[in-house]
Symmetry: C2
């Protein structure tokens, strides 16, 4: 089934990480085939860093790993959803989630 995953022209798919208990969406990053394989094999989240252009074991630097309990693909096999528990704040800003800035209609002005 893994060979059906539709990686984009850069060989990547977006991967959403969600807290398995609270349902909170923690972050979105990208996986190549090797990241997805390592995530499934190791039970920890692996991504591909587009800025550093290298495999990225989430938490290897920060110590904040994501222990993955479930991996899902979407209907057209071009997005991954992982559910798991982070061992610390997921965001490099120190926030629990990367989604801590709300947008409103007022942001359309100026």
């Amino acid at each position: 089934m893994l060979k059906d995953i539709k990686f984009n022209k850069d060989g990547l798919v977006p991967a959403i990480a969600q807290d398995a208990d609270t349902g909170e969406v923690l972050m979105l990053a990208y996986m190549n085939a090797e990241s997805l394989k390592r995530t499934l094999e190791s039970g920890q989240a692996w991504f591909y860093s587009r800025s550093r252009q290298e495999l990225w074991h989430k938490g290897a630097t920060s110590g904040n790993f994501i222990n993955v309990s479930e991996v899902w693909k979407d209907c057209d096999s071009d997005t991954i959803l992982i559910k798991g528990k982070a061992t610390g704040p997921v965001c490099h800003t120190g926030n629990k989630t990367c989604f801590f800035q709300e947008l409103t209609e007022a942001d359309l002005e100026g």
Copy 2:
């Protein structure tokens, strides 16, 4: 703040849609600036269809709209998270969510 959104070279950002009550991740699609503007203004989800290359008012064809209660951006402003309630199954397959296929280590073989 909207002008800070980092659209990719195709002018798009990935946008995650999540059920505002259950936390279930429903789908991932893409927004251009106009989609994001219309979502914030109308309170319903608008995306950009990469296959049809046109603005996409989610539900305009299927009748299954997403009524949006919150819009968030991530730490580096290149991903959107919308929280809302869908008026019917979000997925074109008729499933409530697009993420209905689980991957396991067994999928690495064959």
